[in-house]
């Protein structure tokens, strides 16, 4: 049985919602049931943004939950709010950059990914969420990397397909640089 209850939380503009969308799309490609529930706000950038993504091989009952298998956390406010909502045995993924109070739970698996530093090395700050997505796929391999590549291609307009190789590279790099704490 495959069931993943995921939250991705950070600032608007970090690519939180689109990362969730690519994952949900990848689920559709694998013929799984998916739901994507954003916390929508009046502003497009700057505010906190989060999205709950459910992926399952069975119909999804509630698209909203308060206990998550995995949390991807990209700012301190989200850490304060969502660390406690990870299920015991679940996973928390975060970038230490911008986190002043590291997570303290000992009953979950905690992973760090130095994505901000990596975007500087790559010279492309837009790859931030793609790197994180790669890290996630390493931790949760039930979504195949090929599905994600296909989802990226299908969700981008044709004029943006030139960006696909960089995205694919960033996903693979993300898989390499994620570390278990």
């Amino acid at each position: 049985m495959m069931k993943e209850e995921l939250i991705i939380a950070g600032f608007g503009g970090q690519g939180v919602l689109s990362m969730g969308k690519i994952l949900a799309y990848s689920g559709v490609i694998q013929d799984l049931e998916v739901s994507w529930m954003p916390s929508y706000g009046p502003e497009m950038r700057g505010g906190t943004a989060n999205v709950m993504v459910m992926i399952s091989d069975k119909p999804i009952s509630s698209p909203v939950v308060h206990e998550f298998d995995t949390a991807i956390i990209l700012n301190q406010q989200s850490m304060d709010k969502f660390e406690s909502m990870v299920k015991p045995g679940g996973a928390l993924i975060y970038d230490e950059n911008g986190i002043v109070k590291a997570p303290t739970r000992s009953d979950i698996d905690i992973y760090t990914i130095d994505a901000v530093a990596e975007t500087v090395k790559m010279g492309n700050s837009k790859m931030f969420n793609t790197l994180i997505l790669g890290g996630y796929l390493k931790v949760r391999p039930s979504i195949a990397i090929e599905s994600v590549f296909m989802a990226l291609k299908r969700s981008l307009p044709e004029r943006a397909w030139k960006l696909l190789p960089d995205n694919e590279k960033a996903i693979k790099r993300g898989m390499e640089i994620i570390v278990k704490r």
Binding site: K21, A24, W36, P38, Y40, P63, V64, V65, H66
Partner: protein
């Protein structure tokens, strides 16, 4: 060709409008449903099916454009969110009074007043009791998934034309904003003028070539005549109550406790049901799909063998009153709700259910 797409509830409404052969959409933007108008504008159906999409100057104008289009026998619709729907009440009452078919979508947000842009079910009373002045009923459908946001546009037009009555799709900001898989149907052609004359010629304003004129109006100053008309309307509503009740029942056969919830709350409650069943508590779920007509009889039947009903809503307790009115036994009916745009989590709802069960022991 059947297609599966990942889309938002609001987008599903827009695509369904085009695909179902809708003739015209008239609306005014308001969060959390602006994607309906935005998607229609992006789709440009006026270039493909000939459907008109128009951003009116206000909600009052939108509903009156709908009134005009419906008078001509066209398949027309509008959408808005709570404050905008309030602005449409006068027009809705006129449309009901003129017995015209149309579809309205309310993607509810929290109130009162401008309130919040977050999801709510605070407009239940407005939808089923008082969408406008005068004795009239809407038909109210409550989608609980993005697929139903899509499908109910078709169903709403069918019901609207079957009964010459406005049909409201009562959704909420969460269902409107969330994305799920949707099966998209092939394009249905818009009705031709000849088909409209054949279907609606007895009442629609289609040009009176070769027949007596049709008058589309809600005014009748002779009280005797108006009462006759009121009786005719009430007879229609009775037929609707007898034939159009729709609901979904899960695990009610052996249930000790039944949760009654619609829309997003039904999804949350089905999770609560799973949590309860894992702990050996026999929980069932009754999800009204039509809020008007309401599944009164079924609730009353269930009340003869269950130990209690918990009604879960994103409001202070509205549908719970209709559940209480449905039940003729003394089975306890309790409400759990959140307001202000807060979505009740499955875990807190399960706690509320357990408190209710413990109270009964």
């Amino acid at each position: 060709m059947e297609e599966i797409k990942l889309m938002k509830g609001n987008e599903a409404v827009a695509i369904a409008a085009v695909r179902s052969g809708c003739d015209g959409y008239f609306g005014y933007p308001i969060t959390p449903q602006s994607e309906i108008l935005e998607t229609l504008m992006a789709e440009k159906p006026w270039e493909t099916t000939g459907m008109i999409v128009l951003q009116a100057e206000s909600e009052v104008a939108s509903i009156n454009m709908v009134y005009g289009g419906a008078s001509c026998g066209k398949r027309v619709m509008t959408s808005s969110s709570s404050p905008g729907i309030s602005l449409m009440s006068e027009g809705l009452s006129y449309i009901a009074g003129a017995e015209l078919p149309c579809v309205i979508v309310n993607v509810q947000r929290g109130g009162p007043g401008l309130g919040t842009i977050q999801p709510s079910q605070g407009d239940y009373f407005q939808a089923v009791k008082a969408a406008g002045h005068g004795d009239f009923d809407l038909i109210v459908l409550a989608p609980s998934s993005v697929q139903e946001m899509y499908d109910f546009v078709y169903d709403a037009f069918d019901l609207a034309f079957k009964y010459r009555n406005p049909v409201l799709i009562l959704s909420d900001g969460a269902i409107g904003q969330m994305m799920e898989k949707v099966v998209i149907r092939p394009q249905t052609a818009r009705k031709t003028n000849d088909e409209i004359i054949e279907e609606c010629g007895s009442w629609a304003v289609t040009g009176k070539r070769g027949r007596t004129r049709n008058i589309s109006t809600s005014v009748e100053l002779d009280s005797v005549e108006q009462e006759k008309f009121n009786e005719k309307l009430q007879a229609k509503y009775k037929t609707i109550r007898e034939t159009e009740v729709r609901f979904e029942e899960i695990n009610c056969e052996d249930a000790d406790f039944v949760i009654v919830a619609y829309g997003l709350c039904a999804r949350i409650s089905s999770k609560v049901m799973e949590m309860g069943r894992e702990e050996g508590i026999k929980i069932g779920l009754l999800r009204p799909i039509t809020l008007l007509p309401f599944p009164t009889e079924r609730l009353n039947e269930l009340s003869k063998r269950v130990k209690g009903f918990l009604v879960v809503e994103m409001n202070a307790g509205q549908m719970v009153q209709d559940v209480r009115l449905s039940v003729t036994t003394d089975v306890p009916v309790e409400h759990y709700g959140r307001m202000g745009g807060i979505i009740p989590a499955p875990s807190e709802t399960f706690e509320a259910l357990k408190r209710f069960i413990n109270k009964l022991k």
